[in-house]
Symmetry: C2
């Protein structure tokens, strides 16, 4: 334990990693602090030293770990998209590889479960959604400027729509898992994206 | 209690109503059987007589109460839609009146929380999603036959897409409540529906 105490950054990182795994598999209410500390190799006292309660742990996880995971999964690749075909390909890939415990699915599930009842957690989760939406909105702005997105398209509205579509996919594919559902989702999403193309 | 015992249908109905209220506000893991029996005016023994555990209660609630609520909210109105403009109006109305504890939001939240880990509950929830999708698919088929939906549209794929979009809205509007977000969602949804119109 002594070594852990001298490495607060590593300790917090181990806690947040364990918390993320627990939240993604069991949701917010279902997540136990016991399994989290056990998985991080700590005591509850050490956990409470860093995060006084489950809510502050969830806020830190959303702000740090979840935001970083969404950046790798979405923001960075979206920043490199330079054509509608590339956006279609990325969207299809994200659909086909969707997993019930990945960053997008976990963001959606924890938000659906908690955001209406907890404004503080809602604000932390909304910041993650906002970064995702902004990356898409910027992509659509770039596409309009470069001439591969139709000039009548409103980037912010379409970005909000895209994020809602994909968020919905994370839920409907849980109810009905299997590759054929994902393929239908991916195809419908590509058909929608095609409506944004410059004529 | 004697009278309740003689009215099993009313007792089950009172339990499912109380369960629905609890699930919609607290999710599945967060829902307490104590508050449910208190709200239904019963003992835990009476609850367990009808539903041996929380999962069987949730399955019955999804199959009966939630399915009936989705029928009133979606299936019946969708059955009466006879033009793209009427479909747009209904979609906008459902967006604008979206509440974090209504039937659609609760279906999505409970599915996001539980479906990946519980195949039995997932099947009950998937049946509710399927009925919703079928109603939209039928509407699009009718529209194709009547000439107000474009003949190239694939009703099942677009129905799955519509359900995902709306499911996503229930989550993103929780993260970011307020009328302006709903209005953006409604406008983007109408713009998408316009892409289905027969030219």
């Amino acid at each position: 334990m002594k070594q852990r105490k001298k490495q607060p950054v590593q300790t917090r990182s181990a806690i947040l990693e364990a918390a993320g795994s627990e939240f993604s598999r069991k949701g917010y209410s279902g997540a136990g602090l016991g399994p989290i500390v056990a998985s991080a190799g700590l005591t509850k006292g050490a956990l409470f030293h860093h995060y006084p309660d489950k809510r502050s742990l969830a806020v830190a996880w959303a702000t740090d770990s979840l935001a970083a995971a969404m950046e790798s999964l979405w923001l960075t690749p979206l920043g490199g998209v330079a054509s509608l075909d590339a956006f279609r390909s990325l969207s299809r890939a994200r659909c086909m590889e969707l997993q019930p415990d990945d960053a997008t699915s976990t963001l959606v599930a924890i938000t659906a479960e908690t955001a209406a009842a907890d404004p503080v957690l809602a604000a932390a989760l909304d910041a993650v959604f906002s970064a995702w939406k902004s990356a898409i909105s910027s992509l659509l702005e770039r596409g309009k400027a470069a001439g591969w997105i139709h000039r009548s398209i409103q980037p912010e509205a379409e970005a909000a729509f895209y994020v809602a579509v994909f968020s919905g996919f994370t839920v409907t594919t849980k109810a009905s898992p299997g590759e054929s559902v994902r393929r239908t989702c991916a195809t419908a999403l590509e058909a929608y994206l095609e409506t944004l193309r410059a004529q």
